[in-house]
Amino acid sequence: MSAVDQTAPVFDVRNVSKTFVSGEHRVKALESVSLKVMRGQCLAVVGESGSGKSTLANLLLGIHQPTTGDLYLDGNLLPGHRTLPLRRMIQLVQQNPLSSLNPRRTVGASLRLALDVHDIGDRQGRKERVGALLEEVGLPADFASRYPAALSGGQRQRVAVARALACEPEIVVLDEPTSALDVLVQARVLRMLDELRRRRDLTYVFITHDLGVVRNIADRVAVFEKGRLVEESDTETIFTNPANPYTRRLISAIPIVSDEEETLRRSLMEETNDG
């Protein structure tokens, strides 16, 4: 795994559009988006609510099909219907940790599902694996017998991550994985995600609207506004030299706690006003 080609795109999104038709309304959720996700990287997708972030995630996961355009995985055209091996390769962590876990199944059962479906390990081995997975996301193994209601929000989100990892995916799409959590828990979960990525050599597509989070976890950033990709570059550039006024506005909206942040933000805002 160490010899990964860091320059080859895992995902290649080529000129993809997605239009939803509901009744008489047509919603252009994505408009000619082209994007590459590099192996082993964390790509942050930011943008305000309704800008098409989740739609992109749904296309990557095969939940929806693009209206026009194509998706390539490792250079191969992704089929509309995902086979089990393809499903196994790409996993999702959802925004709402409460609804993403079945309230009436134990944490263990939810984790076992992935192992059973993909036939990972033997019967006895699976049980141990569940424990190992929980420990990997920083939870005691005996949580396997708990129900989601008996977990805090942060713990639930860790379980959701563990479930995604259970399939041993190469790519994990995280759709606002921490926005329902309080700051302390968010920090813990983010840290865990970061460590996991490094440990397992994962590729992340990290959807969020919080640029503060992005700064600390992402390698590259894609900024969406109303279904269009308005800016894409590496994290450092986005924060020190954002090209797009919308990106600047996003940065300036972040609540800050320290004076150095204040300085950074002020400098960005001045630029905006100039522009």
Binding site: E48, S49, G50, S152, G153, L181, D182, V183, L184, V185, Q186, A187, R188, L190, R191, D194, H209, D210, L211, G212, V213, R215, N216, I217, F239, R249, L250, I251, S252, A253, I254, P255, I256, V257, S258, E260, E261, L264, R265
Partner: protein
Amino acid sequence: MTALLDIRDLTLSFRGVEGENRVLHGISLNVAKGEKVALVGESGSGKSVTARIILGLLQEQRSTRVSGAVEFDGQDLEAMPAKARHRLRGTDISMIFQDPTSSLNPVYPVDVQFHEVLKRRNPKITRAAARERAADALRDVSIDDAKRVLDSYSFQLSGGMNQRVMIAMALANEPKLLIADEPGTALDVTVQAQTLHLMRDLVERKHTSVLFISHNLGVVREFADRVYVIYKGNIVEEGPTHALFSDPGHPYTRALMAAVPKITGGGIPEIPDRSESFSEPIVVHPATEASS
């Protein structure tokens, strides 16, 4: 400085099937007239229950036990007859809830709900007059097409719109005290920032006192004059915003502050789940000169 709201040694326990569960361990806090006070702490630390006690919502439940004093405008809420306490709600005290979309009734349009709210102050107000007042209030929160919003249902409006509707409602009766329970955690950052600005302007214009509840110190820093930090039902630190931010005294406060991801980078700090030091005694920052 007279306190509009003065809470002293408030405790709260819930009686459950597995025995009693103490949630507040004797907290004291006060809010002066025109002051914006923040109450910060992690999820489950007891912020919302405090707010609900101030409104008298929890005392009415049979599974709760409350002790301590809550004084509002010089009157002891506990000693007050239930009716009188009831009368304060929606008039002298109002509250903004965390999740704007689900806090508006899904089967009534905004104007009907606004009308109900306005009737709290002026029971005889007609629907038409209420609409006028509501439209004004909505304009105050920078909603241009007030008419359309008034005729809409919560699910037809964006979260940010709903949040503004809630703020407009909460301020419509010119309350003396506004309780804002994590307004905007459910919104995206840009909208959240906008609403904070709006709220600050409005309360300053109307000299409303605010008790601002949040788990995000960053948000608090933008908004509050003074901050209380609460940890597991205890106030652990208290002081004027800038003093507290420039010199956080309590380990827990420091942890909170560190947890906010910074746009300057620096990685994600390691936050312990629990630390002995979080239970250290309260740190009080002396008030700087009377707030302006």
